[in-house]
């Protein structure tokens, strides 16, 4: 085991420039997918929360979409978008939207109806209610959704290598093709660390926001 890690480390030392390029690509594609999914999932979630009927329906649909495995998403977009970074980005974005959307929806719906009624009754406009009341109160839940999405995207970005999207997954595909476990580890360990970092930092942020609102028990 120790030998294996040492070997993996040596491989890393020998391939540093490739490793850092792959890490950068991995982070770039993950962040881009996450950013796009927030830009899409957040307004969609807000809209769904405000449209009681259609909203619930839309949420169920996206909930069902989450059951599609990430690998399947990657291969499903490939016939349409070919190979390379773009299809990987599209697939990862599709993967990340549901958790952001559902968490936004849940957070918005969890805002006490009395609070919204009071806000309206005091003469706040719809926009003021959204920015000053609903979003601040839904924020812990939204950050929770982003956390889930981030971890999923970072892990799944590994699969991008299968369709030529680059990232740390290239070490895993290469290791797999060459039956070389140490090469696989050079990809797998950093991915696990990145996912863990995202989980811990966003989880910490979520807890801080929640305790700020007195929701933590």
């Amino acid at each position: 085991m120790i030998d294996l890690l040492a070997d993996a480390y040596n491989y890393f030392l020998a391939n540093q420039s490739r490793f850092w390029a792959a890490t950068t690509q991995h982070l770039w594609i993950s962040s881009a997918a996450l950013a796009i999914s927030i830009a899409a999932g957040l307004p969609l979630g807000i809209w769904a929360a405000h449209e009681a009927r259609i909203g619930q329906w839309a949420i169920n649909l996206f909930g069902a979409l989450r059951l599609v495995p990430s690998l399947a998403v990657l291969f499903l977009v490939q016939p349409y978008l070919g190979i390379g970074t773009t299809p990987a980005l599209v697939a990862l974005t599709l993967l990340a939207i549901p958790p952001v959307l559902i968490a936004t929806y849940a957070g918005m719906r969890s805002v006490d109806s009395g609070v919204c009624e009071a806000a309206r009754g005091m003469g706040m406009t719809a926009g003021q209610i959204l920015w000053r009341v609903e979003l601040p109160l839904a924020l812990p839940s939204i950050v929770g959704g982003v956390r889930t999405a981030a971890v999923e995207v970072i892990a799944s970005a590994t699969l991008a290598a299968f369709i030529g999207g680059g990232g740390l997954g290239i070490f895993i595909t290469r290791g797999y093709a060459l039956f070389d476990t140490r090469i696989m580890l050079v990809g797998a360990i950093p991915v696990a660390l990145l996912a863990l970092m995202a989980e811990l930092s966003l989880g910490w942020m979520q807890r801080r926001l929640a305790s700020g609102l007195g929701a933590a028990t």
């Binding site: 609070v115 919204c116 009624e117 009071a118 009754g121 005091m122 003469g123 706040m124 609102l213």
Partner: protein, 326 residues
Amino acid sequence: MAFIIADRLTKTFPGETRPAVDQVSFEVKQGEFVVLLGPSGCGKTTLLKMVNRLYEPTDGRLLIDGVDARSMSATELRRRIGYVIQQTGLFPHLTIEQNIAVVPQLLKWNRKRIEARIDELLDLVELPRSYRQRYPRQLSGGEQQRVGLARALAADPALMLMDEPFGALDALTRARLQDELLRIQQRLHKTILFVTHDVDEALRLADRLLIMRTGRIVQFDTPLAVLAEPANDFVRDLLSADDVLRRLSLLTVADALAGNGDGQRLTANDAQETLQPGDTLREALIRVLRAGGQALPVVANGQNVGEIAPDTIASALTRTTHALPD
């Protein structure tokens, strides 16, 4: 002219056949404390919410201070009307001072004026100024409702709408807040529409009671008049109008003396209990009975102003009952 004029105000919710509020017309004078009373589902909340346009009437007209409620934007209208609800609706992510400052900020008051107003309001609802930086969850239910009241009063609206504001509080806290509200009302003379289904609360607070049943007004009169002459059996049952003690708690010793001409003046001997003009007749009756049924002197400013005996109470009761059932 009356401060609020509702003219055949009607609300039928989408998909409903029966209106929740059905052609309701009434007038409320400036400074009047009107309590909307009626069984659950009779349309009290719906009527209240039409006043600040949280619900748009399907028919009829509403004038507030001579102006049609529809002539301005709903948000503009609401900023001029205080609104207090049972769940308090305090913003959990804002401090007490930020909560109170919401409407003044919407109205773009300057910082200094808002700061001064917050202190003034905390004093008014008898909360320590040190609560400014606290969050709603750090306050008791009664304290939260005080903040709710302060927040609604913040921009000094002429009209206050209150929907069962004390409904979720224990009896003791509720009674204390009713006292506070009456005290505040004596100072501020707001026009108040107050919803409750607690009969005692209604009788205690109201200048006039607006009694509703299935979307219509059944009776609209002073508590004493409604108790003395219920419009029908529904009102009689709703208020337990035959409850003598309930009626006595609306009359004061002063009322009894006023109608009694110049009675004899008992001299208060030191051992004896005395009554004050402001005591309720219910209180007086209890004390008279406890004293073995003998008359008790009424003392105001150290002066003996009359006496209350069992028959003084009985005749006061008869006088307020126009038509006694035989």
